[in-house]
């Protein structure tokens, strides 16, 4: 797809291009776009171009959806304005079908946006996964293997629910849901004959609070808090030692020592914070290595 920015005026032609492009994409990429799940085990020179292609496609799709949403708002406001003018100001009820001039395009644009939503990947892919792959690309040889497992369906699914609890009584009752989402797993063979295994599990706590106010009204509130547990296993042909106060284990091997490290990243607001935290944890694991492994 040509690198032309998506604007309000070319979003309709972009929509057509996206639909045609989806038909031409390999089945594996279409499946990833539809199911938001990916499992692959390929060399870096095979897997990275495919992921970059999906990423570029997703960015164009996001821009197109944004432009279509803007048109939806315009047609909606136009419809409301026309209704007010025709029905309430001019009081010409026989002119009501003219309102369809705004409602019909609104419905068409809405259905176009819905059609694209099926292929839309969450922001996690472009703001967390792709920057991480850019870093791994520097640490890996082109011929080395990258094992990848992604689950970008989101945290709040039934199969990811691990705990449900009700507490509180009287005026305030709370239902708490805890979701464990193993969203990212990768194993990379590094250029220095090392191996990096990284797992990111998102833990989301959802609380639905129902309160009865003094006036007798019921109010509901939903609160969400996300943490991530990052597990890193790093094997390098170097000495390793875990710093005091850190949670980790070192397993000595003949040619490589393996460091297993685990950290929690708390209060994650967005994907860039998650990315920052994961890179910091991997960096902390590297900082535990020094010198040369014993012969």
């Amino acid at each position: 797809m040509k690198n032309i920015p998506v604007t309000m005026f070319n979003c309709f032609s972009r929509y057509g291009q996206i639909k045609r492009l989806v038909d031409k994409l390999p089945p594996e990429q279409v499946s990833f776009l539809k199911t938001k799940m990916l499992r692959s085990s390929r060399t870096l020179e095979n897997s990275l171009p495919r992921l970059k292609k999906v990423s570029a496609f997703d960015m164009v799709l996001d821009a197109t959806r944004k432009a279509l949403n803007t048109w939806m708002i315009i047609f909606l406001l136009l419809g409301i304005l026309m209704t007010i003018v025709i029905v309430f100001v001019l009081k010409l009820m026989w002119l009501s079908p003219v309102i369809g001039a705004a409602v019909i395009p609104l419905v068409i644009v809405w259905s176009m946006g819905r059609g694209l939503k099926a292929y839309d990947l969450p922001a996690t892919f472009n703001e967390f996964c792709m920057p991480l792959f850019a870093i791994l690309e520097e640490e890996m040889d082109k011929k080395s293997t990258l094992y990848l497992q992604l689950d970008l369906r989101g945290s709040e699914l039934k199969e990811k629910l691990v705990n449900r609890e009700k507490f509180g009584s009287g005026f305030a009752k709370t239902t708490q849901f805890i979701y464990h989402d193993p969203m990212f797993k990768c194993t990379a063979d590094l250029v220095d004959k090392g191996r990096l295994h990284c797992e990111v599990t998102s833990i989301r706590r959802v609380r639905k609070i129902t309160k009865k106010s003094a006036s007798g009204k019921y109010k509901m509130k939903t609160k969400r808090k996300t943490q991530a547990v990052v597990s890193v296993k790093l094997a390098l042909p170097m000495q390793a030692a875990v710093k005091e106060g850190e949670k980790g284990k070192v397993k000595a091997g003949e040619k490589r020592n393996v460091l297993a490290f685990r950290k929690k990243i708390r209060n994650i607001q967005d994907e860039t914070e998650l990315f920052n935290g994961v890179v910091a944890v991997i960096g902390d694991a590297y900082m535990c290595f020094y010198g040369r492994a014993s012969a």
């Binding site: 690309e137 607001q269 860039t272 991997i282 590297y286 290595f289 040369r292 492994a293 012969a295």
Partner: protein, 132 residues
């Protein structure tokens, strides 16, 4: 012909063994086609200098969690690592036999105090980190 003086890698730095065919107009170091960017006017700038210049304004966003905005493609990794090392106090390990004082800011940890291995004649680094 000199070899490219940029250091590859992110957590572990190592030599780029590719032959250089240009010189960076900012730091005057020899660079290979993988590691430079052509600017308007035809001048060549290495990815380290390009990254430092591009991210000098954006690095203040680093503390606000906008790091991923610094990383759009492979070229950006070099600028991002410069910001990451400074902000996270990360000391990269250097595996190689040619130390460049361009990287003095990084407080590099040497893999070994002595360069116990030399590059092979064909220009490929004999990267034996450990005795087999």
């Amino acid at each position: 012909m000199a070899k490219c003086s940029l250091k590859r890698g992110f957590f572990i730095l190592r030599n780029c063994s590719t032959r250089a065919d240009s010189t960076c107009s900012k730091c005057n170091r020899p660079v290979c086609p993988d590691h430079y960017k052509l600017r308007e006017g035809g001048s060549v700038v290495c990815l380290d200098c390009y990254g430092k210049q591009k991210n000098s304004v954006k690095s203040r966003d680093y503390g606000k969690g906008k790091q991923a905005a610094l990383l759009k493609d492979r070229e950006d990794v070099y600028g991002y690592r410069h910001v990451y090392y400074g902000y996270n106090h990360y000391h990269p390990i250097y595996v190689g036999d040619y130390y460049d004082d361009y990287y003095d800011d990084y407080d590099i940890r040497a893999f070994d105090n002595r360069a116990e291995y030399a590059e092979a004649e064909d220009g490929q680094s004999d990267a034996q980190f450990y005795d087999s």
